[in-house]
Amino acid sequence: MSATAQPHAHHHYTTTGLEHRKIAIWAFIGSECMLFASLISTYLIYKGRSVVGPFPHESWLNPATGQTMKPILNIPVTSQSTFVLLMSSLAMVLALAAVENKGKPVREGAGWWERSLSSSKLWLFMTALLGTTFLGYQAYEFTSFVREGLTIRTNLFGSSFFTLTGFHGAHVTAGVLWLLTLLAIDFKRGLGPKDALLVDIAALYWHFVDVVWIAIFTLVYLIR
Amino acid sequence: MHSHHRLRGPAIATLTALTALTLAACTGSAYPNTTFAPHSEFARAIDALWNRLLLLGVIVFVLVEGILLYVILRFRRREGQENPAHVHGNTTLEILWTAIPAVILVFIAVPTVRTIFATQARSTPNALQVEVTGHQWWWEFRYPQYGVVTANELYLPAGRTVNFALKTADVIHAFWIPRLAGKRDLVANRTNYIWFTPDSVTADSVWNGTCNEYCGTSHANMRFRVFTVQPSEFERWAAHQKGPAVYGVAPPAPPPDTGKKGKGARAAAPAPPPAPVDSGFAFSRELMPRYAVPTTPVPTDLSFPDGLTGDPARGRDIYSRSACIGCHTITGNPMSAGVIGPNLTHIASRTSIAGALYPNDARHLALWIKNARKMKPGSIMNTLGKGEYDPIMKLTVTAGGLDDQQIADIVAYLLSLK
C-alpha cells in the first residue's frame, strides 16, 4: 500500500464511514489468526514426539559424540529479542500518533523528548530498526541452533520449530519492508494526518505480528 | 392438472425400484458383501443402528419430499393469479421445524453414543489375537498366540472373539470385512484395534475383505479372504501353519553362517524333520463360493507356455539363489528370510495370490513371477521374467532374468509348500 495510490479515497461514500483498507486489514488479521493457530498447534502436537535430539527443554544425547547436550532453547537471548519486539510496538504507536498529529503545534517550552514525539520519521525508523534487531536475534538463534545440530530436517521439533518461527520471521521481514516504504514516503513528501490510514494499517499488521510473538514466546519458549 | 401425472410417474417408479432393491439387498446370496446381513455382534450392533437411521431417514424423506411435491403441485400459478398471500414468516412454525428435527436427532444420538462405547470397549482377555499389517498392496496376518504368519487369507474360529491389532508397514490402509464388522484404518505410528465374534453358524463360510483407504496404485487390488471355520479346524490349521514348509528337505549345502540371522535361519538350525504327512486343515476349494473366486483377467500382453512342467527340487534351488529370497520368508528354507513380501511358507495352502487378485494355481503363479508388475500395477515385486518389460523400472529384464522353465520350476516348488 503506498501513499500515491488512491489519493482521494476518503471522498468515497462508505456504508460504515470506515476506510475499505482498514476493514480489509482486520479481516486479514482474523485470517492470520487461523494461520498461526495451525502452526502453533502443529508445534505443540509434535512437542515431545521427536525420536532424536536436540530437544527444546530436555537434555539430549548426541549420537555422534556420545555427549549429553544441553536443551537447545536459549531463554536469556530470546527474552531480549522479545523485549525488543515489544518496544518496536511502542515505537510504532508513537509513529502513528506523530503522523496523526502532524501540523499540531508542539507545546511551548517542550523538552527534547516531547519534541521528538512529533517526529514520524524518527519513530518509523525506530520501529524498523527494532524489527531488524529482532530479525538479527533470530538469525543468531537459527545459526547457533544449526551449529548445535538442529536443522529443519533433524527431527519433528526442528521442522515445526523452524517453520513456525520462520513464518513469524517472514512476517516481521515483510513488516520491516513495509515500514521502510512508509519511511521513504515520509522523506519524499512527508506523512500527515491525511495519510494516517496508511500508517494505521501498517501499524495494525505490525502489532499483530508482535502479538503472535507474545504467544510464541510463552508457548514455545517458556512452557516446558 | 396435468402436471400431476408428469411428476408422479417417475416418483412411483423410483419408489418401487427402491423397495425391490432393498428387499434384495437383505439376503446375502446375491450380495456377498452386503452390510445388511451381519454375522457378528459388532456388525449386528451397527445394523441395528442402521435400521434406526434408515427408518428415521425414510420418515424425514417422505415427509419433506411429500410436502415439497404437494406445494409444488398445489400452488402452481393459475391464470391471472398475481397476488398470493404475502406471509413473511411464522414463528410458531419455525420453532416447530427446529424442534422436530432436534427430537429426531436425540433418537439417533442416544443409541449412537451407546454403540460407540459398547463397540470400543476393551476386548475379552482370552480373545484370539491377530496382528494385521497393511502393505502396499497385500495383507500380513500374524497370530502371536499360535506363532503363525500368513498373508491375504485369514482363518477365524467361528464363535470365538477375535481382536485385531492393526498396523501398517507404509501408508494408510483400512481393514474391512463387510459381513463381519465395520472398518478401521491402519495408520503408521499407531496401533488400532477392532474386535468382534463371528457367529457360530458361520463355520465353513468365506467372506471377502478389502482395503478401503486409498493407498496408491493398486488400492483396488488389496483384497483378502476370510474363512470362518470350526474351532477344531482352526486349531489344526494353526498347528500346521506354524510348522516349517512341508517341502522340508535339508538344504543342499548349508551356507556358512554369514551372520545374517533371519527367522528362517534359526528355525533351520537343526536339520529340519522330514516332511510331515498331515497337511493340516485348509478350506476346501470345492466349497469356495463363486464370489470368493477371483475373476481378474490376466493382462493380454503377458503369457506363459501351457504344459510346461517344473521340478520342485530344481525350483527350490533356483528360488534359493534368486531375488525372491530378498523379500520372502519360507520357514524351513534357511535362505529365504526376507520380510518385505508375503510369507510363503504355506503358500500352497492358500486359494488365491496377490491380495486375493488371482486364483492360486500354476498358471497364475507363473505369470505373477514372470511379471508381477503387469499382473498388479505398481507392485513392489520386480519383474523377473527374462525378456519382460518392467513398467516401473522402464526397462526390459535381460541377463539376470528367469526363463520360463526356471519359473515353472519355482512354481512347482511353491505349489509343493502345502
Partner: protein, 117 residues
C-alpha cells in the same frame, strides 16, 4: 484519521467511528511498562524450578501471555477505541482459532479427558 461524517450502518446503534482520540504517550508508556514487567515476571518464573514443577506454572504463564496479548490488542491496536466492526472481525476468528487449537491438543492427547472406566 480521515474523519468521515457519515453515520454507520442503519441497523446498528449510532456510534461514531474514530470519535475517541487515540491514546497518546501518556497511555502508551504505561502499556509498554506493563508489557515489560509481565515479560520479566514470566522469565523470572521460568527460572524457579519448584514453580515450574508445580501445577500452577502453565496456567500462570498462559494467563500472563493472554494478558499481554489483550493489552497490545486493546491499546496499541486501538481495538478498545475503534468501531465495533473491527472487534467482531478480530475476536470472532480469534475464538475459532483458539477453539481449534485446544481441540487439536485434545485430539492428540496432550490434554486428556479421563472418564472413569
Amino acid at each position: 484519521m480521515a474523519h468521515d461524517p457519515h453515520a454507520p450502518d442503519a441497523g446498528e446503534a449510532p456510534h461514531h467511528p474514530e470519535e475517541h482520540e487515540h491514546p497518546n504517550w501518556g497511555t502508551y508508556k504505561w502499556v509498554a511498562l506493563w508489557l515489560t514487567l509481565i515479560t520479566i515476571f514470566e522469565v523470572w518464573l521460568y527460572y524457579i524450578p519448584s514453580f515450574v514443577a508445580s501445577k500452577l506454572f502453565i496456567p500462570t504463564l498462559l494467563s500472563m501471555s493472554a494478558l499481554k496479548f489483550a493489552i497490545v490488542v486493546m491499546f496499541y491496536m486501538h481495538l478498545k477505541y475503534d468501531h465495533t466492526i473491527f472487534r467482531r472481525l478480530f475476536v470472532g476468528p480469534l475464538i475459532i482459532a483458539i477453539l481449534t487449537l485446544v481441540s487439536l491438543l485434545f485430539l492428540f492427547g496432550h490434554l486428556a479427558i479421563r472418564i472413569a472406566s
